[in-house]
Amino acid sequence: MSPRCHPSLYWNTHSCPTPSGLSPEKTEPLTVPRGASPCHIPTSRLQGGWHLGPRSILVALLGCHCNSTRSPASAALSTLTWCRHDDLKEMLDSNKDSLKLEAMKRIVAMIARGKNASDLFPAVVKNVACKNIEVKKLVYVYLVRYAEEQQDLALLSISTFQRGLKDPNQLIRASALRVLSSIRVPIIVPIMMLAIKEAASDMSPYVRKTAAHAIPKLYSLDSDQKDQLIEVIEKLLADKTTLVAGSVVMAFEEVCPERIDLIHKNYRKLCNLLIDVEEWGQVVIINMLTRYARTQFLSPNQNESLLEESAEKAFYGSEEEDTKDAKAEAASLAKRKPYVMDPDHRLLLRNTKPLLQSRNAAVVMAVAQLYFHLAPKAEVGVIAKALVRLLRSHSEVQYVVLQNVATMSIKRRGMFEPYLKSFYIRSTDPTQIKILKLEVLTNLANETNISTILREFQTYIRSMDKDFVAATIQAIGRCATNIGKVRDTCLNGLVQLLSNRDELVVAESVVVIKKLLQMQPAQHSEIIKHMAKLTDNIQVPMARASILWLIGEYCEHVPKIAPDVLRKMAKSFTNEEDIVKLQVINLAAKLYLTNSKQSKLLTQYVLNLAKYDQNYDIRDRARFIRQLIVPTEKSGALNKYAKKLFLAQKPAPILESSFKDRDHFQLGSLSHLLNAKAVGYQELPDWPDEAPDPSVRNVEVRGTPRREKRKEKVEKPFYSDSEGESGPTESADSGESHHGGASSRGHHGGSDSEESGSSSSSGTSSSSSEEEDEEEEEEGSGEQSEEKEGEEEEEKRKKRKEKGGLRKPSWCPAFGAVRTYELLHRMAGEGLSVEYCFSRRPFPGDPHMVAVQIQISNNTDIESLAPGDTASVVMGIDFCDSTQAANFQLCTHTRHFYVSIQPPVGELMAPVFMSENEFRKEQGKLTGMSEITEKLTLPEKCRSDHAIVQQVTSAANVGRVPCGADNEYRFAAKTVTSGSLVLITLEWREGAAAQLTVNSEKMVIGTMLVKDIIQALAQ
């Protein structure tokens, strides 16, 4: 082996063209056994040999190096392509980041050009753990592109991503998940599933968003995971951040669009969040909600007349008045007629309307289709303006919008009439846009505006764009059939076009005239005569066929000319196009029946010619017609009726838009545009006859502030101020925000409370349905208050239907031993002070809840509690193993207090008792990612067994596990909600040094626990 060549030498080989006929499989350099590190590939050994001598030597040499089962020839081929990238490999193997980066850049450039770079896989995958972030990113790009082809090698990179999943930097966590889920290797499905589940409860909304993105990826890789994925989707749907909403709805649409039941509880939240969601998410959510609304609400156009007036007002009135009006209206309407729009339906319409102002055309279109499919007729008009605005945009946008406008304008013509002129055509428009605009103009034509439209059409006919002219002529024909008044004018105009110099124009006119004449032939024999003359000049088959048909059909109006035309056509029969031949036969047959004296021989002649035609259709027709019209002894009874058959009155064709009935597709969808069902299209359901139970959308708030149980806006709304939120829609809202206001767990408790405050005040507004609602509620809470009557004060009407609710403490609170936290200060609470502590006893109602003991003391005069007296109560909260705060509301007669409980991580668990062996066994299972180790120094006072145990148990609710070693302390616990194990080991080395190890499946909990314990020990 010669020493390595300088990289520059390889450069030449790199630029040589690829030997043809190489398939990617063959270029795969070597198979590396699974699990082996790529470093072991004997690349360096091979590299030396390339430039030594003639290829034959190489072949022999390589044949033995490479896989021995391979034939020498194929090995040589593979190595030849391989050697082209030697320089890159060397750069990737170097220690310098800059060289690596350069190499990766060149590789990515190759991928971008569509060149195959898969043979570099082993060299690239080594760099997956590179420190340089740009190299790392490019390696990710490479990995995602080729992992599917080289699954075994790709597995080598997995551990890096698993490590990345618990990085403190959220960007790294997210990108690790992104790449991990983008590697389409079926074998890692379980790992992906685990990672997604973990990320779905990450603290960072960005990571949760990435988790939502990963769901459809995993689903497309392995659809068996559907059930588990739906669980994750359900969890993420309950997320209250705007960042996650769009992505999770996208995942919902791809994985389980049929599970409409998952939306119920989140419906109001989605409506309220909508305006703050990023624009792409908005499109997806709006489309999904359109479908949802179609299954859950009643058609708003059931009894139009009444609604029309109320909506009319709503349309013209300003927002404020609108809501007031609507409220009154709703009440009055309720008495008069059965249909009342579901407040949730109204909520959707109201919250989407501002999005018509979006700069994103897709959002505008989404709202437009929502209004078209869901809004009462009178309100649909608002979308016209926005759609017309989109016509100023890029031509592709115009194309799609015009298609949709064309469909809408058939059903709701009035909506676009004010914007008629916006659809006027400029000579610079692309032809496809012109034709669509023409379609819209034709749809909009009516008695009042037809003269303007026709004048406009006249200019179009002179255009240089012949396709467009042909379409214009068609359009004129349609106007003429639809509007009787102008039929004659149009016909005259078209006849004038017959003398046009352009044959296409003439042909198109003939076709259209034919259709028009069919409506009233008697008056127009002059035109027919004129057209008969045209057969000499016009060559366009369709036009010739039309003329012949016309003459045949109305041969009685032109008795002299018709046989002459047949004579001419018989002469040229053999040279005609098929459609013309068929019409010649038709003409002959009709003439034979009406005027057999003159045309008998001609007909025979034509039929004979047709008999030997190449086209079997024409031969068949000739045979059929001969049997039918020429009486012979064999011909049956039909002969008598031949005349009736051929010369029956035929209905005039209806010229209608090709966009008619397209609206059964959801507007704005790909399927609508193609007028065919696209893959994955979700049918837009019809309105139900009877509305499903609207109460499913009520968010039932339990004491457990689970994520999915929340509907209110928690993000501080940026766009929408909460003013003007009251209104009829609030009736249902307020119902549940009464109790809904009670608890929440969000990042922005402040804005949340603001919202619930306003809504509960508006809750007094009455519509009949709402009152019922309230009553029901009163009953519900009544039960509770009975239960707590004993020690609960009357002012504490927390309308909270907790699972288990508030419980009378059956045991004495151990306030002294455990740390207490303040919930409501005496001053802030106007004399009422509330403290809470974590009692560390299992909550009797539900073992998955953390028991929180609340102590209420009265420092002034409260009716049901003597001054200075205290009462305590235990509440169960399911924190879902997360330290996010539970926000809720404390109500008295006069005031609402917004309070929140944030649990220290140590309180999220309950002690477990196990033997030393069990502990070791469990610990063995929870290594690697799930193990967190930290060194610490113990302060003076903390160097006794007793002190250490006390500090640890005070920081976390854990149980001690017996331990043989002297200076080791072990503790075990299970998280309350999911019951995952948390194992703590503290090793005390000489002096003050100690090492703390926490093993837990929940890495976030583990990390935080380590911090807390260290802090506790340091005190």
Binding site: W280, R359, T428, M464, S669, S671, V679
Partner: protein, 418 residues
């Protein structure tokens, strides 16, 4: 959603491909080429093409086709809008969205595409966020990077991603704090043969260049906001404030962006600032015709009309044109049959005129239609609708910014039929 993206130049070379799911072969583009051939004209290529296994949704920008491959139902506008956003981002990063710029920066392009879509669903499209993740290339930076070894890629999550105002970067600092607004109005009009207006409307935009430190909260008010009939907003604008007070209240993105675009209510009569006198005729049976066009100012509120350019697509039968211009210069391209007359400024004293003979193909029939004239012009310091900015207030920051407003009126799609 979006499966793959192919960038194709005018000569039909696929010069970039990117896949977000499994790889789709380049051969899928053959369907596109087929459609392109059928359409003859680039602008007539249908934006949505259905193939047996995929759907192709394409846009045409700056002589590049962006062809995306779709496999399942998706709103077509969603894809089209996104592709335009991609083109805008390239423009923003490289100054132009051309084939050479993309090829030169192929790695950055790839990194951008990687960030913009995840599994085919848009992830980060705000330019401010992207710029924090991937820094745009500058000469200075590439020099610095080669010395210090630092990279163009950010390693922390852009703050905007998590906040409610994703369009703004955190920690913006300027020594000169400036806010500029350009009110640009375009007149779309169709003028018929006799000089009467068939259709006219005013479309306007306010483009802003905001370089303010910190988190300024701006509110912009107009003297006559009722003029604005239909408005579309940048996401930063608070809709409720506009609805109730007709004030634009917003925390701006950093740098250049379009604040609003609007249409002026159609009830207002549009003042057309120029008129055109034209006489174009082709003689029957002789291979020549006459061409005589004069442009003059009208109702321009004392401002000069400048930058006047007239383009005419002459009929196919025209071979050549022999014209004399009293002002400016003209060119006629015998291949595309486009006549361009660059007039410049119009002075009312001496109206610019273009006059001469049109040579037709001998033997060809006389063209039936007279070509329509497309006019471009510009008027500085004037918003033709009369829209006026009243004041700009800033809250949330202590310093005093420099504020500026500029008005321009332009011709949009301004066409004179003859």
């Amino acid at each position: 959603m979006i499966h793959s993206l192919f960038l194709i130049n005018c000569s039909g070379d696929i010069f970039l491909e990117k896949h977000w799911k499994s790889v789709v072969s380049q051969s899928v583009c053959d369907y596109f080429f087929e459609a392109q051939e059928k359409a003859v004209d680039v602008e007539n290529v249908p934006p949505v093409i259905s193939t047996p296994h995929h759907y192709l949704i394409s846009i045409y920008r700056d002589k590049i086709f962006f062809v995306s491959v779709i496999q399942t139902e998706v709103p077509p506008l969603f894809v089209i809008e996104f592709l335009h956003r991609v083109a805008d981002t390239f423009q923003d990063y490289f100054g132009e969205c051309s084939e050479t710029a993309i090829k030169d920066n192929v790695v950055i392009v790839y990194e951008l595409l990687e960030e913009m879509l995840d599994n085919g669903f848009p992830l980060a499209t705000e330019s401010n966020i992207l710029k924090e993740l991937i820094k745009p290339p500058t000469i200075l930076r590439s020099v610095v990077n080669s010395i210090t070894g630092s990279s163009n890629v950010g390693d922390t999550l852009p703050t905007g991603q998590l906040s409610n105002i994703p369009w703004r970067r955190a920690g913006v600092k300027y020594t000169n704090n400036e806010a500029y607004f350009d009110v640009i109005e375009e007149i779309d009009a169709i003028i018929d043969k006799s000089g009467s207006t068939v259709f006219a409307e005013i479309q306007g935009v306010i483009d802003s260049c905001i370089k303010l430190s910190g988190m300024p909260d701006l509110s912009l008010s107009f003297m006559n906001p009722r003029l604005l009939d239909d408005v579309s907003f940048h996401p930063c604008i608070r809709f409720k404030r506009w609805e109730s007070e007709r004030v634009l209240s917003f925390i701006p993105p950093d740098g250049n962006f379009r604040l609003i675009s609007y249409r002026v209510s159609s009830q207002n009569l549009v003042a057309i600032p120029v008129y055109v006198k034209h006489l174009i005729s082709f003689k029957e049976n002789s291979s020549s015709g006459r061409f005589d066009v004069t442009i003059g100012p009208k109702q321009n509120m004392g401002k000069t009309v400048e930058g006047v350019v007239m383009t005419v697509h002459m009929p196919k039968a025209v071979l050549n044109m022999n014209l004399t211009a009293t002002q400016g210069s003209y060119t006629f391209d015998p291949v595309t049959k486009v006549l361009t007359w660059d007039v410049g400024k119009i002075t009312p004293q001496k109206l610019p005129n273009l006059k001469g003979i049109v040579n037709l193909q001998s033997g060809a029939p006389k063209p039936e239609e007279n070509p329509s004239l497309n006019i471009q012009f510009k008027i500085q310091q004037l918003a033709i609708s009369g829209l006026k900015v009243n004041r700009l207030d800033m809250y949330g920051e202590k310093y005093k910014p420099f504020k500026g407003v500029k008005y321009i009126t332009k011709a949009g799609k301004f066409q004179v039929r003859t």
